[in-house]
């Protein structure tokens, strides 16, 4: 049963890890803007696509 102490300690440590992850995310401003990132993520796609097509064209040539 002594393994219980270890397990409780581990689970608490993990939970504390998540708590700090949350605090860090608030601090770094990830919760400030919950709209723009959802749009921004689509932009990169367009640029990547364009680069790919360019690369393909280069390859073809």
């Amino acid at each position: 049963m002594n393994v219980m102490y270890l397990l409780i300690g581990c689970s608490l440590l993990m939970a504390i890890g998540f708590l700090f992850a949350f605090i860090w995310s608030v601090k770094s401003g990830q919760m400030d803007d919950d709209y723009t990132p959802s749009v921004r993520i689509l932009f990169d796609d367009i640029e990547i696509k364009k680069n790919k097509t360019e690369e393909q064209e280069i390859k073809k040539n």
């Binding site: 049963m1 608490l12 608030v26 723009t36 749009v39 932009f43 640029e47």
Partner: protein
Amino acid sequence: MTKTLSKQKVTCYHCGDECDNFPIESEDLSFCCVGCKNVYAILSQNNLCDYYNLESNPGTAIRNPVSKTKFNYLDDEQVLKKLIDFNDGGIQKVTLFIPIMHCSSCIWLLENLYKLDKGVTNSRVNFLKKNLSLTYKTETTSLRKIVELLSSIGYEPAINLNDIETQVKKGENKRLSYQIGVAGFCFGNIMLISFPEYFGLDEFARVNFSRLFGYLNMFLALPVFLFSAQDYFKNAYKGLRKNHIGIDVPLALGIFVLFARSAYEIISHTGIGYFDTLAGLVFFILIGKWFQQKTFDTLSFERDYKSYFPIAVGVIADENETTVPVNNLKIGDRIIIRNNELIPTDSILMNGNANIDFSFVTGESAPVRKVLGEIIYAGGRQIGETIELEVSKKVSQSYLTQLWNNEHFAKQNESKIQTFQQTVSRYFTFALVIIAVASATWWLVFNPALSLNAFTSVLIIACPCALALSSPFALGTAMRILGRNKFYIKSPEVVEQIAKIDSIVFDKTGTITQSNDAKIDFIGDKLSDEEIQLIVSLAKHSVHPLSKKICQLLYQTKIIPVREFKEETGKGLQGFVGEKEVKIGSAKFLFPDGYLNLETSNLSTTVHVMIENNMRGYFKIEHSYRKGLNQLITQLKEHFKLYLLSGDNDSERKNMQELFGENAQLFFKQSPMEKLTFIERLQNQNQKVMMIGDGLNDAGALKASNIGISVSENTSHFSPASDVIMDASVFNNANRFIQFSKHTTIVIKMSFIISLIYNIIGLSFAVQGNLSPLIAAILMPLSSVTVIAFTTITTTLFAKKGGLE
């Protein structure tokens, strides 16, 4: 012929506006104006045409190019220092407010700004706040250059006096997030650790783990008690010192007793404590607080004249024009005001044709002509050519700023709001203390050992968690629903205030009339098609609002070139259209010698037309009333006392009296100060007044009234300080909003009854002295969840029933 017809429907590739007769064409694309074409040229040169792929016609038409010197003040060290967030030698950071941004193309373009200006190292958009954060190297660029670039591509940032005078508060919301995070973390873990205890431990586990679990729980509850619940103790203490008992007092009492009793049980090995209840309670009430704290990011409810004023104006000194911050203007300075610029302080007209739009200040919609030597009050907007003025008063002492020196702007009106929750919690607290003391005394007599137990149990179980949640969730839901319907309220308490009002005061211009959608009639013999063409061809050359309206009404595709075009600002236009001489304008303009045998009327503005010295008649332009106004007033008449306060003359009195009914009192030619005192007079008669207005001239009245609603055509533009910002398009729904607010207060009262029932059930255990941790742990979250579910669901149902989305 068919060709011209097909062209008629051409829309601008850049802004999506309909192109007029001659679209400007370039690379097979059509543009409505040179401004739009130029933006396209800049973007295509820099390979930024993805802008047009993300959304179709994402741009905004630039019809009035900004003057080259407009942003010179951004080179001023003093101004720059106040605008910039961060400055480290070569690198500067700044946050600009760009109200025009509206779609994902905007975000994309603004975040690719570095392609247009190599000095920009980073640009990031916060779309909800319409902010653009920039980092740039001062070596290669400057704030002025960037702002000029932004303006040239149609994204002119709004920089005003307020930006340099106040510092934005940051980090308040973050604290609450931390508190919720900590409380949630502790709540979850304490629950986990408490579970075995509730399911029953066997003898072995009890010996080995029970004590460990107890101490672990206490250790985990400490941050909740000391950090997350901190504000409740502070507020309760503050309230008690002011002899004011709010919901915070019983909450703080409950939390404290919970912690103290649980800690005692753990340390004395007499029980397992109520730490899970404690953490859950704090977690839930914090969530309630967070839910209520929703704000509308792009809207500002605390605007004063500073938000309207420019930071700097052009000043002529020794024949040279320099830019001077408006706060540094001295009496006697010569200032230059260009088309569409605001006059920052009372000054005397020295040069040029002044045609001032005072709609901000007085509510009068038509521009006023001023002659040389006349005083022009602050807040007017010049329309037309550039004028020169001599400053006669400092900015802080001008006519406009006086309004803000009134006591109403100094005092906070928070204290006058007494919410239902506050009223109830005072009685609640007294009742709670009485029950706790009574049960303690009873047990003291019959079984002293249970006395303290019963006393603390009462305080624990009666801790008004559900009560504390009912208002935030009902009001928070209402606020979101109203926001979805374009009725943006400053804070949740406003909903309760709206439910209490009994009189409504309307402003006229801009509030119940729509200045940009006026009704036009032509009085006189019917105009022939050719005559219409002549008039439109002439009017097309003028930017005066009346000319624009005439062009809109008599939409024409064929424009005849005009020779010898002359415009006398504020009077009229003349010129040869083709071979014919056409004059349009005021009666005075057409008949300088005072000849006038037409019916004179104050009901509307008239524009007379003369073709080849032949009087053809005149256009009558009436302000049109907002859609659904008639219906709205009829509905409101039944429940409220209605008043009208207008800054305009009383030419529309007859119309208005008919609309508002015999009993309504109408007042015209009201100065901003008179409006304010009128509201106060009503309040002294114990009326709860709602003021609906728009311009700066209503600012005093909006602030003084119990509920000030400012109507805005474009909510991201400026509106005066108020409790509510209402989008003009939902004006006719005003009655629905009021009814919905009333329903919301009913929901709060019902949910209060529910939470009372839970409290009575809990108390029946507590007074007997046998409140087990398990019962507390079940009852507390159960009551909270019921109340949350009940308030949000019923509020939403009421909204649906009331015709809101």
